[in-house]
């Protein structure tokens, strides 16, 4: 009689799995695909990306400008991330036509391409950006070109002034040496007063505007749509049909924090949800950066950032939109104010040595000429002498005027009791022993 053995089945399955796993070291296969190139509004700025053939839905935020275009490119699978990657540098052929937006099977809009630019008011590497279309796009691009031109003009002037300064300085040194040879005695203050002043370099252009592009602009109310591309000959381009989920934020204007721990400043943590608590132990220095934030559906938002991302439709996530300025951070215990902390700039100074390798010091322009602060934040020192217990944080616009939704809890944990945890695990055995003794007694 044959008997089923689960163990044998498992071993067989493992062997089968090992034999059938293809090698991951092979070079990726490039395949030509029609993809949608995306530049989508993500709540604070614009995120570039693409939607490969494997994904049938594009996600957008409602009532915002979003740029899309259909392109033929080379796509390959990247096993490390498990995602498809587009090789736009190798092939980037734009597909012309009319983009049709459909709702419930009917074409509601036929879109042509529009000129657009993305404007970064705080520079290219800042997170916030806006999109401008048509005349406004031209105006912004010209403004940027003019600012860049002016900057190059100022740079040329600066180089000219530097050349003059070097000549003047050399002449000053020669005169100085002649005067000293002639027996003139000069004090340090006199020398400094007569010394030519070095010109300062001009300030760069703080904002950035992308070159003018032509894309299809989708600005739609919340809902579910389909898009497809109609070629100039009137036919629908194969593989151009995608679903479009246009979603809105659930809550807006919340307050979240980014926390920079003093002992690992590059490992920032987010404290967005009001239900979350900061647990801390020992001596801590935390730098808190408050943000305004909006709440989105996690699945939709992650799919917006990359249509290949995964998410949970039941989960919600906060997205920082802009930094909160001119607020005070209050640190309290049982409602009693312990400290009010102002926002300050900090500079991370690299130092040689076996310890952290850096030091975070308050930034002062005169101490770091020509350098920008590394970050700005409210510095909260959790001293080891603080009583272990529950503390609160909140933001105030002015003294006493609390910003709604900014309250958070800080609990200082008692790490010294960690070993007692093993001791309390024993109590079921003690209960068992009591039952055992009782039973013995009742029998006897």
């Amino acid at each position: 009689m044959r008997k089923f053995s689960p163990l044998s089945a498992l071993i067989l399955a493992l062997l089968l799995g090992a034999l059938t796993s293809p090698s991951l070291a092979q070079a990726p296969t490039l395949r030509e695909q029609l993809v949608y190139s995306l530049n989508l509004f993500d709540g604070k700025g614009y995120t570039p990306g693409f939607c490969p053939r494997s994904e049938d839905t594009i996600y957008l935020i409602a009532n915002e400008n979003n740029a899309v275009s259909l392109r033929s490119t080379l796509v390959y699978f990247w096993p490390i991330t498990g995602n498809y990657v587009a090789g736009f540098k190798a092939l980037n052929e734009e597909i012309e036509g009319t983009l049709e937006v459909m709702k419930e099977g009917e074409v509601t809009r036929s879109l042509g391409k529009e000129e657009n630019v993305t404007y970064y008011p705080e520079g290219f590497f800042a997170e916030n950006s806006r999109m401008y279309l048509g005349e406004e796009a031209h105006a912004f691009f010209q403004k940027y070109e003019k600012a860049t031109e002016d900057y190059y003009g100022r740079i040329n002037e600066y180089y000219e002034k530097m050349r003059e300064y070097r000549d003047a300085f050399n002449k000053f040194l020669e005169d100085l040496s002649k005067r000293r040879e002639a027996g003139e005695e000069l004090s340090r203050a006199q020398v400094e007063a007569e010394m030519p002043t070095e010109p300062s370099p001009p300030e760069g252009v703080k904002f950035y505007v992308t070159p003018l592009r032509k894309d299809y602009i989708l600005n739609l109310p919340q809902g579910v749509y389909q898009i497809r591309m109609r070629a100039r000959d009137g036919t629908i381009i194969e593989d151009s049909q995608k679903n479009l989920v246009v979603f809105a934020r659930r809550r807006e204007g919340g307050v979240g924090y980014e926390i920079i721990p003093g002992n690992r400043w590059t490992m920032r943590e987010n404290l967005d949800d009001p239900s979350k608590t900061i647990y801390a132990a020992g001596k801590n220095t935390l730098y808190l950066r408050p943000f305004l934030q909006d709440e989105y559906n996690e699945l939709y938002y992650k799919k917006l950032l990359d249509p290949q991302n995964e998410g949970t439709p039941e989960r919600w996530m906060w997205v920082h939109t802009s930094s909160l300025e001119n607020v005070l951070l209050s640190f309290l215990k049982k409602g009693k104010l312990l400290e009010r902390i102002k926002k300050a700039p900090y500079y991370v100074k690299q130092i040689p040595g076996p310890e952290l390798g850096y030091e975070i010091i308050e930034y002062k322009e005169e101490e770091f000429p020509g350098r920008a602060p590394t970050f700005e934040g409210h510095k909260l020192d959790l001293s080891p002498v603080l009583e272990k217990g529950n503390y609160q944080l909140r933001l105030e616009k002015r003294e006493g005027e609390v910003l709604k939704g900014s309250e958070r809890k800080i609990l200082l944990v008692r790490k010294e009791n960690a070993n007692l945890l093993y001791l309390i695990s024993i109590f079921p055995l003690i209960v068992g022993l009591v039952v055992f003794v009782q039973r013995k007694r009742s029998i006897s």
Partner: protein
């Protein structure tokens, strides 16, 4: 004529009382609770170490993960005792003797199920005492979501107990029951591992046979998500982590339906196979 699902409450009470007291007087329950709480303590100690090392921990429910680990261990214990409960009595011939009296399949199954659930309620008391002590010793918050998780665990454990009783009703030897339980759980695990492995590979790179296997495993894996009792526990804990009341309510409802179906099936199997089967 009495229906096959009718049961005398007096008989059931007597059976529950006998089995429950007998397990309470043994060491198994206390040892299982001790091992599960010890594992939680180990995890909590690592958590506290990590807070010190990383400066901070940001969490809304720091005790939920240690609870989950405790629940998995306690669930294994309850799965084992429920899987052997019927087969042991069949094996020893006690079941036959019982069925000569006023005991029928449904009253017997309900008694076994109630006894295991009562044992779990004892565990719940241990959890409350333990996590309250942990919270006051370490200052890690005993949150409302922990209470929700403990409440939900009653329904998840109900699935595990019903699953154990269902397997037990199918077998007549204690050893066979345990082998079946372990075998089935390992098979669920293997399906999950292979499915994850194949999903992480590029579709175009897979041969047609592997593609077929992937699709099959996808379906099987979706199916095991509804068959495996441990996936109900996992789903319930996820609903708490997400903070969705709808998913939380659905988890409770699914667990009740699952337990009901398996208990009714166990009664039918026991009826069909007889006391010696």
């Amino acid at each position: 004529m009495r229906s096959r699902f009718s049961f005398a409450s007096h008989t059931t009470k007597a059976l529950v009382r006998r089995d429950f007291l007998s397990t309470l007087k043994g060491w198994g329950l206390y040892l299982a609770a001790f091992v599960s709480l010890m594992s939680s303590s180990f995890i909590l100690k690592s958590h506290l170490g990590a807070i010190k090392e990383n400066n901070i921990l940001i969490s809304s429910d720091p005790l939920n993960y240690p609870l989950f680990i405790s629940l998995v261990i306690v669930s294994f214990y309850l799965a084992i005792i429920s899987v052997i409960s019927i087969s042991r009595e069949k094996d020893q011939g006690t079941l036959e003797v019982l069925f000569y009296g006023p005991v029928n399949s449904s009253s017997y199954l309900v008694a076994k199920y109630t006894k295991d659930m009562l044992l779990y309620l004892v565990m719940v008391c241990f959890f409350f005492v333990y996590f309250t002590a942990v919270s006051s010793l370490t200052n890690l918050a005993f949150s409302w979501s922990l209470v929700k998780a403990i409440f939900l665990s009653i329904f998840s454990v109900s699935c595990i107990v019903s699953f154990g009783l269902f397997i037990s009703s199918l077998t007549s030897k204690m050893r066979t029951s345990i082998i079946w339980l372990v075998g089935i759980l390992l098979a669920f695990l293997a399906i999950q591992i292979f499915h994850t492995m194949l999903v992480s590979l590029e579709e175009e790179a897979l041969s047609s046979s592997l593609l077929y296997l992937r699709k099959t495993l996808e379906m099987v894996s979706r199916g095991t998500g509804w068959i495996s009792p441990f996936s109900y526990l996992n789903r319930g804990m996820q609903s708490i982590a997400i903070g969705s009341m709808r998913l939380y309510g659905m988890s409770i409802l699914y667990s009740l339906v699952y337990s009901f179906i398996l208990l009714v099936s166990s009664v039918l199997i026991l009826e069909a196979k007889g006391v010696r089967g």
